[in-house]
Symmetry: C2
Subunit: 318 residues, 2 copies
C-alpha cells in the first residue's frame, strides 16, 4: 500500500497556505498564495487549483486521500464560507464544491478553530483524548469542542463559538454586533483595549505610555510584563480572570479532560496560563477543581492551521 | 416477540417513584417509596428491590429490558451517586451495582436532568432531534445536552451543569459553594430572592408584600404576575434576561436546534418563555437569531422523570 498524504489548505484573511501532510504530521510540501489578490472567489479557486495540481505532480508515489480546508466562517455541513468578515468574497461561497470541480479529490471544509481542534487530536496535545476544547486566542477568539471523540458541529454547523459568549451585557462593542463578548477581552486586540483603559484610569508609570496606542500590540504588552511593568502585569491578570471564568463555564457545558490554548495571546506562556488556571479553578464546581488540564498547544503556530486542515481530511476520508 | 417494558426509577430528595413504561411512553404500573426513610442506602435499595420484584410479578407477559435510574449527582460512567446534597447518603454510593445485585436486570444510571433529556428525545418535544438542550428550572437549575444524537457525559460523566455557569462573579451565594451561578437567579428559589430584593429596593405597591418571605414561592409570584403585579412582572423580566443570556451562551457552545424548558418556573408559560426568547435572541450571534426554538416540555411533570429514566434504559439496552 502506498503511503498516504492529505492536502491541508488554510485560508486566512491575508495568505492562503497549502501543505501536503503525511500521517505523522510532517508537511512534505508547502506553497502559498495571497487570498485577496483575485477578482472574486472563482479566480482564487482557479489559482489555488493550479498550485494543488503542481503539488500533486511532484508529490511522487503517494496516495493523496483528499483535501481539508480551514477557513473563517467555514461551515462543515454545507462546505461553504458564509459571510466571512475578513475575506473579500460576498455572501455564501460554496468553496468545497468549487475546489472539488477543479481538482478531482474529495474535499471537506470547516472553520479554522475547528480545524485546529482536529489538528490537536491527530498531531498535537489532544492525542488519545475524547473530550477536549481548543481555544484560539488570536485577533479573535475561536474554539473547537470535541466530545465523545467527535468535533461538535451542532444543528447548523456553527457549534463552538465560545468567543462570542457574554462577559458583560453592557461591555465592549464586538465585531459581531453584540456587546461584551469574550473576544473583546481575551483576544490580542482585547488586551490592548484593556491596557488603554488601565492607562487612562490610573497614574501608574508604565513603559506602555511611550507607545502610540494605534501601534500597540499584545507582543509589546507581553514584553512590558516580562520587565515587570505593573500595568502590563495587571492587564494579563484581568485578561486571565475573564478567560478563566468563561473556560469554567465551558467546562460546565461539556466537561472536557483538557483545554488547549493556541495562538496569539497563548504565546505569553505562563504569564497568561498560570493566572488563567487559578481563576478557572476558582470558578469551577468542586467536582472539577484542579482536575481540568490547561495546556498550551505544542504545535508550531505557522504550521498548525495546515496540519489541522490536513488532519480533517485524514479523519474524513481514511 | 413479546412487548417490551423498562423500569424508570426517579430518585428524588423526598420520594422515589418507580414506573414500568412501554415503548409508547405509557406508564403501565407505578409505585413509590420515601427516599430518606431508610437507614442508609443499602436498606433503601432492599426496600426498592421488593417494590421492583412485586411489579415484575404482576407485569404479566412482557419482556423487561432493564432499569434506568435518574438521581441527583448520578454519574453515568460509574453508576454511582456522588455526594448528593439532598440525600441522606454519605459520599459515593454505587447505586446501580447495588440495585443490580438485588434484581437481575441490567441497570443504567444518570443524573435527573440528563434523564429528562433522554425522555424528551424518546417521548417528548425532542423526538427526531439530534442536537438540543433540556433545562430543568426547579429548586435548582439542571441541564442535559444532546449533540450528534448522543447525550454529552464528558470526560468524567458530569457534563451539562449549565446551572452552575457564572452570571455574576460577585453575585448571590450558591449551594455549590460558588457565587452568582445561574441557579441562584433562575431557579424557583432564585425568583423568590429576586422579588425580595425588588421589594427592598422600591416602594412600588405589590400583592407580594403581604406574604411572609419565608413562605413565598414561585407559584405565588406567578399568580401575582397574572394579576399584573408590577414587582412580579419585573421579577419575571429580570429572570428572563439572565436566562436568555445564559441560553445564548449555551447555543454558542453546542448550537442546538432547540432548547426545551422543563419543570418549576417553566410552568409560568409565556410569562417566562416570551421574554426569555426575546433576550436569548438579543444575545445570540446573527447566524442564530430567531432560529433556535425555545419549547416548553410537553411532558407531564409528575411523569417526566420516570419516563426519562425508562427512556435511558430503552436507549441503553434495546
Amino acid at each position: 500500500m502506498k503511503d498516504q498524504l492529505a492536502f491541508g489548505i488554510d485560508i486566512g484573511g491575508t495568505n492562503t497556505v497549502v501543505g501536503l501532510v503525511n500521517r505523522n504530521g510532517t508537511i512534505v510540501q508547502v506553497d502559498a498564495l495571497k487570498t485577496n489578490s483575485y477578482k472574486g472567489a472563482q479566480a482564487f479557486v482557479e489559482a489555488l487549483a493550479i498550485k494543488l495540481k503542481q503539488m500533486i505532480v511532484i508529490s511522487g508515489d503517494y496516495e493523496i486521500v483528499g483535501m481539508g480546508v480551514g477557513a473563517p466562517n467555514g461551515n462543515f455541513y454545507t462546505g461553504s464560507i458564509e459571510f466571512a468578515p475578513n475575506l473579500d468574497w460576498v455572501g455564501v461561497v460554496p468553496l468545497a464544491e468549487m475546489i472539488g470541480k477543479q481538482v478531482k479529490l474529495p474535499v471537506v471544509l470547516t472553520n479554522d478553530a475547528n480545524a485546529a481542534a482536529i489538528g490537536e487530536m491527530m498531531f498535537g496535545a489532544a492525542k488519545g483524548m475524547k473530550n477536549f476544547i481548543v481555544i484560539t486566542l488570536g485577533t479573535g477568539v475561536g474554539s473547537g469542542i470535541v466530545a465523545n471523540g467527535e468535533l461538535l458541529y451542532g444543528h447548523d454547523g456553527f457549534a463552538g463559538e465560545i468567543g462570542h459568549t457574554v462577559v458583560d451585557p453592557e461591555g465592549r462593542p464586538c465585531g459581531c454586533g453584540k456587546k461584551g463578548c469574550l473576544e473583546t477581552y481575551c483576544s490580542s486586540r482585547g488586551i490592548v483595549t484593556t491596557v488603554m483603559e488601565m492607562l487612562a484610569k490610573s497614574n501608574e508609570p508604565s513603559i506602555l505610555r511611550k507607545i502610540e496606542t494605534s501601534q500597540m500590540n499584545s507582543l509589546m504588552i507581553y514584553e512590558a510584563a516580562c520587565q515587570k511593568d505593573k500595568i502590563a502585569l495587571e492587564a494579563f491578570e484581568f485578561t486571565a480572570k475573564i478567560l478563566g471564568m468563561k473556560l469554567a463555564d465551558a467546562v460546565a457545558h461539556t466537561s472536557p479532560e483538557a483545554i488547549i490554548l493556541f495562538g496569539g495571546l497563548s504565546l505569553a506562556g505562563d504569564l497568561l496560563l498560570n493566572p488563567t488556571e487559578k481563576y478557572m479553578n476558582h470558578f469551577l464546581l468542586p467536582i472539577w477543581k484542579n482536575k481540568i488540564k490547561l495546556i498550551p498547544s505544542p504545535l508550531n503556530e505557522s504550521n498548525a492551521a495546515v496540519l489541522g486542515a490536513a488532519a480533517l481530511a485524514f479523519k474524513q476520508f481514511v
